[in-house]
């Protein structure tokens, strides 16, 4: 029996954590993710979960404690954002390399400088190469569902996951959320699974050894391979999730794409505004669609190329910049994925919304007109545009 409640993104993630009932949560507060562990710590104090809560003195220690706890066979979670995720950076790679099923509830927030507490994707993008699954959420419902899904994925695949919401836009916005019964979540996840157990004294192991020229390469190629192989398994697990939990999620979500000539591609909360604008433009007879990328890591290259095969012009929305003079992260990944495709659309990057700058329907309508002109001009001109910028 599910129930309908009104929850912010942070509340929805905290509720998912309560139902997951991790063995250990180690965390450090940071705006706008603070509430997640704040709410969760009240679950701990009131005995609603069995979790040992470790309020560390920094995010670096939070993720370090998570790594230790996960290696010890515990089900482990944390939450963070922005500078906090950046401070965890070093250890994210270790968690990935040690195949530890840790889940981070990550709230996307701009990185300093200048310091800013609002949404963009620079923090999550900066950790995209750490060997983690990265899932973006459009609304509190997805944040809730995907937090539960992420625990399943990590414990099935032994790859750590971060589920992201957009700072304030989702983390603090209250929406309708359909929650499962506690029992349903418990049954869906089953007992925690870990790749090894440091606390098994009868079978002592050494975790995190030094591997040099003679073994490092093989170990990292193994990692590359299991990440590659995880793509089909993620789809299987997602299908199973949809069936059991009555949802309809896919790794990349297509909206009005079947006959579309032009399309928008985006991550996170902006997909909602884009879907609304697609509806508006469709009423005006414009053949436009939306591709929402739910899983950013691993990158579902084949699915994206397939979705774009009949598109003439593709507008990619990036809420981050690589500061390489080549635009944002999603644009660079998609452009690269399309290179060997026989039918590739013209692609232009629209970097928007940095540091929480709002994007509205009119901005998106302008992008539609722009990508149309760009396509008709055979891609002449700058391939990266910065929009929502004050003139």
């Amino acid at each position: 029996m599910s129930k309908i409640v009104a929850k912010t993104g942070n509340e929805a993630m905290a509720e998912a954590m309560r139902q997951i009932n991790p063995d250990v949560v180690a965390a450090y507060p940071i705006t706008p993710a603070t509430e997640i562990v704040q709410i969760f710590s009240s679950f701990v104090s009131n005995g609603e979960v069995d979790t040992v809560f470790v309020p560390t003195e920094s995010e670096h220690s939070a993720i370090s404690a998570c790594v230790g706890a996960a290696a010890a066979g515990a089900r482990v979670m944390t939450g963070t954002s922005s500078q906090g995720l950046a401070l965890m950076h070093e250890i994210l790679f270790i968690a990935g390399g040690l195949r530890l099923p840790i889940v981070i509830c990550e709230v996307n927030r701009a990185l300093s400088a200048p310091i800013n507490i609002h949404c963009d994707h620079s923090d999550t993008m900066a950790s995209r190469d750490a060997g983690w699954i990265q899932i973006f959420s459009e609304d509190p419902q997805e944040a809730y569902d995907q937090t539960i899904l992420a625990m399943k994925l990590s414990e099935q695949l032994f790859i750590p996951s971060m589920v992201t919401t957009d700072g304030f836009i989702i983390s603090h916005a209250m929406q309708r959320v359909e929650m499962y019964d506690d029992r349903e979540v418990k049954e869906y996840l089953g007992e925690p699974k870990s790749p090894y157990n440091l606390l098994d004294l009868d079978n002592p192991i050494t975790v995190g050894p030094l591997a040099l020229q003679d073994y490092y390469m093989e170990i990292k190629v193994q990692q590359a391979n299991f990440i590659k192989e995880s793509k089909s398994k993620i789809k299987e697990i997602l299908n199973d999730f949809n069936k059991k939990m009555k949802r309809d999620y896919s790794v990349v979500e297509k909206y009005m794409m079947d006959d579309a000539e032009f399309c928008f591609v985006a991550l996170g909360s902006t997909a909602g505004t884009l879907r609304y604008t697609v509806d508006k433009l469709r009423k005006e007879g414009k053949k436009v669609g939306l591709l929402k990328v739910r899983f950013y890591r691993p990158f579902f290259e084949e699915d994206i190329v397939e979705a774009l095969k009949n598109i003439k012009g593709c507008a990619i929305f990036d809420r981050s910049d690589m500061f390489a003079g080549t635009g944002g992260h999603l644009f660079n990944d998609i452009k690269s994925a399309l290179y060997n495709s026989s039918s590739r659309p013209f692609v232009r990057d629209y970097v928007y919304g940095l540091g929480g700058r709002d994007i509205d329907v009119e901005d998106i309508e302008n992008v539609y007109n722009d990508i149309k002109d760009f396509t008709e001009n055979h891609g002449k001109g700058e391939s990266v545009k910065y929009i929502t910028v004050r003139e």
Partner: protein
């Protein structure tokens, strides 16, 4: 009192075949530590000499569970393991009593890992942290640390024409740990192996965090004879370069009060890192002044806290 035959007959939990230098104090510390703790123990090592020499894949010197995470976070990692242990015990998934022991060199403990250590101690995890203190970043090639003694030559505090080695005294980490109000804190020296073993056992019995700082001779970094490591561990104490004491439930106890005090020079000039001080006696005087002050202050603390 520990019996050396008993300790030796238990078999090594930290086994030979590791790649440490001859005369390494760190490996003696780990061998004594693991023997004292016994096989129901899980070790966490910070990046550093002891981690590097003991776990070169696909080999390991550890017959008990061992984990290395990174350089600055062995205390935080151990706090996670201890939390997992508590959680799993509560859920009935673990029945055994397990010792959680973290260690690091002075780099990973005094400097880059200080915040992580402080946090873990303040949170009250039941874990023992042992620092093998060789007084510099030996693993990267003898760079100064905040544990490097005054006057010592290191590769980043080289004794030159203008500056004669490190010009600051050591950070007193043991006192910083005492200031955390944790149940048990101690300093030890491998020459007094029995004292160290007893301290480990005592530390593992307390219900909360404990910390032991052990002087760790490093022939390569100190410029000393490999065969002199144990002798230097004794001389360090009899010259008051290193004090062997403990702090338990608010009380100090100086475990070794040298009957025959030795001149500081006897300790210093068996090591190349201090050889330039022969021409700078005023620096030796400054070091002597500081060390005597520390020792006298320690005796006073012992007296006051036991009143």
């Amino acid at each position: 009192m520990a019996n050396i035959k008993d300790l030796a007959s238990k078999g090594n939990l930290f086994t030979p075949g590791h790649r440490a230098c001859a005369g390494c104090g760190g490996t003696i510390i780990l061998r004594l530590l693991s023997a004292a703790a016994g096989e129901n123990s899980v070790f966490v090592g910070a990046t550093g000499c002891m981690e590097v020499v003991s776990t070169i894949y696909p080999y390991t010197s550890w017959k008990i569970p061992f984990m290395h995470n990174a350089f600055e976070n062995s205390a935080a990692t151990a706090s996670g393991i201890e939390s997992a242990y508590r959680a799993l015990k509560k859920r009935g998934k673990i029945n055994k009593d397990i010792n959680i022991i973290a260690f690091g060199g002075d780099g990973g403990t005094y400097d880059i890992g200080l915040q992580s250590l402080s946090g873990a101690m303040e949170r009250g995890h039941k874990l023992l942290y042992v620092c093998y203190d060789n007084g510099a970043y030996m693993n990267t090639g003898i760079q100064r640390s905040s544990a490097t003694p005054f006057g010592a030559n290191t590769t980043t505090s080289p004794a030159g024409k203008e500056i004669k080695g490190k010009m600051q005294h050591r950070k007193d980490l043991t006192e910083i740990m005492i200031a955390h109000n944790i149940p048990y804190v101690a300093q030890a020296s491998i020459f007094y192996w029995n004292d160290f073993v007893e301290k480990v056992k005592k530390a593992l019995k307390v219900d909360g965090p404990s910390f032991i700082d052990v002087l760790s001779p490093c022939p390569l970094g100190w410029g000393s004879e490999p065969s002199a490591s144990v002798e230097l561990s004794q001389l360090a104490v009899s010259t008051h370069f290193w004090n062997v004491f403990e702090y338990e439930n608010g009380k100090y106890k100086v475990n070794v009060k040298p009957k025959e005090e030795k001149p500081l020079e006897e300790f210093l000039f068996k090591q190349q890192r201090f050889k330039h001080l022969k021409n700078n006696p005023e620096l030796v005087e400054e070091l002597r002044r500081y060390l005597n002050e520390k020792y006298q202050s320690l005796l006073k603390k012992e007296e006051c806290s036991n009143r």
